[in-house]
């Protein structure tokens, strides 16, 4: 690829994330500069300071991390195990169940709020980490199942068979051979699961309370009754992106090759 094309790619990428650059810049602007200048302004850290004192952001960060990590771990484990079954075994109703897994994601989320709230409230699961992780896991696992199934299908059965012949149990074969080969897939689905839980708003609003409030729920508080606190809300947005960005940067290598195995071979 020529230098010129590389250069074009860089320009395209920068243009692509221009809105996010705008958000980051605005987080350092003073109120008078917010809508006037794009690049030339005197920066200030006041918005960030105010954010932490006004909004108690560290607490919401903690909640978001706990919930998102818990969801990622649980959904990937349960989903991978189920995906293995769908990939390797041929049992009655397999196709039907697989379709139902997809079907379960088709109802608009807003339609699920009331029925689930009433049930979870009665069971005492609202405003608990466990309850919300359970809910988010239900949301994420279908995607994990479909993707991981693809991964497992692309790993030749023979590898596992060979291990079993050599004396391993199926479980050991799974843990020692299949899983490591599909580590990229696990990384990929866990990133997507983490991201979607990190940013989810509607259910977080209804199902979290003072003990478990997450970042997306706290953000509307920066929309005052008489106007948006632009500097602070941009600061919150910038901070909220960082954890996932760092995580996905580190996992990039895994991510790309991960998706490869799963999706192409089907």
């Amino acid at each position: 690829m020529s230098r010129k094309t590389e250069g074009i790619i860089i320009i395209l990428v920068v243009l692509f994330i221009a809105p996010v650059i705008q958000m980051v810049l605005m987080s350092f602007k003073q109120p008078l500069d917010l809508f006037s200048t794009f690049l030339f302004f005197k920066p200030t850290g006041a918005n960030y300071v105010d954010l932490f004192s006004r909004l108690n952001l560290t607490y919401f960060f903690k909640n978001s991390i706990i919930i998102a990590s818990g969801t990622a771990v649980l959904s990937v484990i349960l989903g991978a195990v189920a995906a293995y079954s769908f990939a390797r075994y041929n049992f009655p109703m397999r196709k039907f169940l697989l379709f139902m897994v997809l079907f379960s994601r088709m109802l608009p989320p807003v339609a699920g709020v009331v029925p689930l709230f009433l049930v979870m409230r009665r069971l005492g699961f609202t405003d608990t980490y466990g309850g919300i992780i359970l809910l988010y896991t239900a949301f994420q696992t279908p995607f994990v199942i479909w993707m991981m199934r693809g991964f497992f299908l692309s790993i030749p059965r023979e590898l596992e068979e060979a291990a079993v012949i050599d004396g391993c149990s199926r479980l050991t074969a799974f843990l020692r051979i299949t899983l490591p080969l599909s580590r990229p897939g696990l990384a990929a689905t866990s990133i997507f699961a983490f991201t979607l839980s990190w940013n989810e708003f509607l259910f977080a609003l209804i199902f979290t309370g003072t003990n478990t409030k997450t970042i997306p729920v706290a953000v509307p508080e920066l929309i005052g009754e008489m106007g948006i606190f632009w500097g602070q809300i941009c600061a919150a947005g910038t901070l909220a992106v960082l954890p996932i960005f760092i995580f996905s940067f580190l996992a990039q290598k895994q991510l790309i090759s991960g998706l490869t195995f799963g999706a192409v071979k089907g």
């Binding site: 094309t5 590389e6 397999r94 940013n199 947005g237 991960g258």
Partner: protein, 291 residues
């Protein structure tokens, strides 16, 4: 024998934990909504009456509903279509990159991982006809920009662009992965035969990617049919209902008009719509996949 029975039940045991969580939590609301759609349920003040199919009749007789269907289909079709075409192109470009791959690909993910509420507010500012950057840039070139989200003629366009922007990283990354896994032999053979890049792309690359393309299109379609956050912040469904998709209509009906019966009916309808569309995908997909 006990062990054979156990062996037989292994596949079920493996899928049990996952399905035990998914089905109750996600399928139960479906039944709930179907059940509710036969009732007139005003949430506040509570009033609950069995009305059989009256809700469906009311919805089908409501021109606002049909307008929402039209807008939803238009919106989804264009968003997914452009995400695919652009996404494939960008994935192709990124595939050929030699340096700074890790950085570029992480950066490309950013629209997808940013907090939807906040990034929608930023876009709202960008689209503002007077103070927003988009019109400011146009003004620099001497063009008088339109009202974007404040003008019913351009509002759907604006929300479409923002939604495309937000979802395309997912498409790019999945397609990119697919491109990376392609085998070399067909390409070597094609070069030997003297094929042009265009021919190579359409006759080799695209067919090899067929399955992955279908998966991406399926997931994105299901997701985009229900898209809510961006439209709500940018236009709230307006002006004059010009961007009111079915999702917006459901939310409004439930949380502004407190009408549980109608919103359940709309949810069931959108569910059936999604089902129909994905059924088409699914049938095709399953043919391609190894069973």
């Amino acid at each position: 024998m006990a062990s054979r029975k156990f062996n037989k039940s292994i596949p079920y045991l493996l899928i049990l934990p996952a399905l035990a969580i998914i089905f109750p939590l996600l399928i139960y609301p479906v039944f709930y909504n179907v059940y509710l759609s036969f009732f007139s349920w005003k949430v506040l003040p509570p009033a609950f009456n069995f009305v059989k199919l009256q809700n469906y009749f009311d919805v089908f007789n409501n021109p606002v509903f049909w307008n929402s269907v039209k807008i939803t289909l238009q919106f989804t079709g264009i968003v997914v279509g452009i995400q695919f075409v652009l996404g494939l192109g960008l994935a192709y470009l990124l595939n050929g990159q030699k340096f700074a791959k890790q950085t570029t690909r992480s950066i490309v993910l950013i629209p997808y991982i940013s907090a939807p509420a906040i990034i929608s507010l930023i876009w709202r500012l960008l689209w503002d006809p007077d103070l927003g950057q988009i019109n400011q840039i146009l003004r620099f070139f001497g063009i008088r920009g339109p009202g974007w989200i404040a003008d019913p003629a351009t509002s759907l366009f604006s929300v479409t662009v923002t939604e495309i922007w937000r979802g395309i990283p997912f498409v790019i990354l999945v397609l990119l992965a697919g491109l990376q896994a392609l085998p070399d032999e067909p390409y070597d053979a094609a070069k030997v035969d003297g094929a042009s890049s265009v021919q190579i792309f359409f006759l080799i690359t695209v067919p090899l990617l067929k399955t992955i393309i279908w998966i991406v299109l399926l997931f994105q379609t299901i997701f985009t049919l229900r898209a809510f956050d961006i439209i709500w912040v940018l236009t709230g469904g307006g002006p004059g209902g010009s961007t009111q998709t079915l999702s917006i209509m459901i939310y409004r009906t439930m949380f502004r008009f407190w009408d549980g019966g109608t919103s359940s009916t709309l949810s069931v309808i959108i569910l059936i719509l999604t089902l129909l569309i994905s059924f088409v995908f699914f049938r095709y997909l399953y043919k391609e996949m190894e069973v």
